[in-house]
Point group: C2
Chain length 459, copies 2
């Protein structure tokens, strides 16, 4: 009844698709957060749902932890085998199983990445909109309830996962949801699994909602005198009903990072990066209306484009924000944290972050999915400087608690993982007890990604 016995049995099942090679273990113990390398005891490479089920059954009978692994781009250490066990690398389950163009949905295996899916969809005139920046796996994106720049228009993974196939903690395979657009037939298990970070079941198939490629796309950058002006522009734009596809806030320090990395010459002031999707006329009208609202709040220096190559350059720059942040202090290590607040409190939350960062003498860049009230702070630190790292942790701590005090949440899209567990009690109060009871009901022996989401030693 040990992990070692489980590994022996798994080797019989999987042959050389079960590995204990140090290099592979280390690779799966890496993380984009600030944790030390935390390798699992073995890595399994399943190729089918039935194989996942067999693996889980073996692990269940040996009380061996199982942690699903997508592309490893989590920012909160979701994939780390902190209690040891088997890493389930889903990268070989990477087939697009069906594209139902008339229904605007696709059925995929969890190892398919978002770029792979969109590549596959090119000829159909459809696309999958959720865009967290990283080319993450769709299974991982569902597990962490990811979102990104387009959520303001198209929603997060929560709104875009229609149905799932899931292997439970005892190896049972279930299907949740259907390809129908809506249902009132019982508890919404799909939405329960989305965001459960591999702690309630392993996702082995996803049915995803697709969108039609817009006829026209228009993007712009616009400079503001201060953060408040930019945020108020966004509030007014939303209230006016102008449908933004993307609206990203970039603070002055982040602009400096972009200029340094990309050789751009944007003025070092808060900016909005905006995109509109629709018919050519609608997009032109939306751009004009937005321009008027922005001008009312002191927005200036508009640069509009409808050319695909300019747009791609803009969003590539945006997606490389973390690397642009690193460019500001190349010798330091960087990490990113996120919170989400009601949009009316966003300026206050960002002001708070800027003040704290200055008080703690940290280099912080801020970038926000401002239409959702969600923003990220990237911070640099010297891993050998314990005092500086303590300041970084103090900053993240204060930011998370500020989010709660502003009627917001400790994470808008990065997830809980290891890093945010300590705030779950404060955010959820008694509701955390319900989460624990669901976990116990669905994974009584706590083998599925143990030590994540729920802050309790016996969870």
């Amino acid at each position: 009844m040990t992990i070692e016995t489980a590994i022996d049995n798994l080797r019989t099942l999987l042959g050389d698709r079960l590995t204990t090679l140090d290099a592979i273990l280390d690779q799966h113990g890496q993380n984009e957060a600030y944790y030390p390398v935390t390798p699992p005891d073995a890595v399994a490479f399943p190729e089918s749902t039935n194989e996942v089920s067999e693996i889980i059954k073996i692990c269940a009978s040996h009380a061996c932890p199982v942690i699903a692994f997508g592309t490893g781009t989590s920012l909160e250490g979701h994939q780390l085998a902190i209690q040891g066990g088997i890493c389930l690398d889903m990268s070989r389950m990477n087939a697009v199983l069906a594209v139902n163009a008339e229904d605007m949905d696709a059925v995929v295996q969890p190892g398919v990445t978002r770029e792979q899916l969109n590549q596959d969809l090119r000829a159909t005139g459809l696309f999958f909109p959720v865009d967290p920046g990283a080319n993450a796996s769709l299974g991982g994106m569902a597990a962490t309830r990811a979102s990104g720049t387009t959520a303001v228009r198209y929603g997060t993974m929560k709104e875009n996962v229609m149905a799932l196939e899931v292997v439970l903690a005892d190896g049972t395979i279930i299907r949740t949801g259907t390809r129908a657009r809506k249902s009132s037939a019982g508890y919404d298990l799909t939405k329960l699994i989305v965001g459960s970070e591999g702690t309630l079941g392993i996702i082995t198939e996803l049915t995803l909602r697709l969108q039609g490629q817009p006829e026209a796309i228009s993007a712009a950058t616009c400079r503001f005198p201060d953060i408040d002006a930019a945020v108020n522009t966004v509030i007014q734009t939303i209230q006016t009903g102008i449908p933004m596809a993307r609206i990203e806030l970039i603070d002055a320090m982040m602009v400096r990072g972009f200029n340094k990395m990309d050789g751009t010459t944007l003025p070092e002031a808060p900016h909005l990066f905006i995109e509109f999707h629709g018919s050519a006329n609608a997009v032109a009208e939306q751009a004009e209306q937005f321009g008027e609202i922005a001008a009312d709040f002191g927005g200036d220096d508009f640069k509009w484009t409808t050319k695909a190559e300019d747009r791609n350059a803009l969003w590539k720059m945006r997606h490389n924000a973390f690397y642009a942040h690193k460019a500001l202090s190349p010798s330091l290590r960087a990490l990113a944290t996120d919170i989400c607040v009601p949009i009316s409190r966003l300026a206050e939350a960002i002001d708070f972050a800027v003040e704290k960062s200055e008080a703690l003498e940290l280099t912080t860049t801020i970038i926000g999915h401002v239409g959702d009230g969600n923003f990220h702070c990237s911070l640099s630190f010297d891993p050998d400087d314990a005092i500086q790292f303590a300041r970084v942790q103090d900053f993240m701590h204060q930011l998370a608690r500020q989010a709660i005090s502003l009627d917001g949440t400790i994470t808008g899209e990065h997830g809980v993982g290891v890093g945010k567990m300590k705030y779950m009690q404060e955010e959820h109060g008694e509701a955390l007890t319900v989460m624990r009871s669901i976990k116990r009901a669905m994974d009584p022996n706590n083998i599925l990604n143990p030590g994540k989401i729920l802050p309790s030693s016996n969870q």
Copy 2:
């Protein structure tokens, strides 16, 4: 440890807000489905969350069932006290607690109806979009995961409930979600409670997402040669990315009912009723594009309007469909059932319904939220004619199973209640076991709306 003792204790707590008067019990035992009057043992009228909590604690200690009651407009018998117990009439908890215009959300008590909320919102330029037809309570709409004509544009209750306050089966009060637009902080308990039909907790407060009143609204009726032509028009319109706010399919028999009840002279053929929301230019452009697509499929006899009074008349007619159905056979009783399928299978599903109806010699009208693949059949029967009623049940039975076979769901928006429990196993398979385990974890003594959703005597 009996219901009688619970009632005694509740009377001490509530005074005359606990009643056992036959007239009140009967009123709460009525239903718009086809069930006999099923009165509870008592009706409680709580006025606060704390009072709901105290009531539940008393009921919990006496193993007394508790059934929340909104406006009683459920179509599947959700509110019936089939195992006796206390009906919790939430109508006195009907305050709009906050309207946060900048954040476009509102906080309401569960007894607030959708029309009451929209009345309250008039001066703000905002509205709550979910529109199931009946002027239902928002607590009831959340509990049944209601939707309606505007779901194609604005989503269902699932997408529009941001946060909840819930009293659990032991009286504990929890809060799920926040006013932030999105979160990745743990299991999505809000979405678990939405659609749980009062079986996991009693909703005592809702935070709802609001929408801005569109600058312009344009509505139309359009005639089609057959159902397929109408459905293909909708598929093409969605794929083209034209954002419809409403798109309703009306079959020829339903048109006959409208003509009979409302004195209209619409040709007795399948119709689409359509509405667009947006800027004046956008709405005009969308109407034109839609007209071109519809014409390609033989759509004809367009009647467009942007006048509020004409639109209101159109949607009032649509919302009175059930009464228009009754007008076709005034001496008979009527019931309504709903299914939802992938839109590519919608024409097939409707054809199936028409064929079965004819084979069973039933009078059936069909109306559909066709942008979602969801449609309703209304059927008339003589309650004293057992053979005819058996045919109606046969029809509903075949329709539900057809929905499952077409990769759809047994109910798109009416919910499970009593009526659809028998299909839950077929639709969900092993996933039903997970629903049962969640129910057991959250309501171990099965006091919350027992005998609903989960088809098992010990659930």
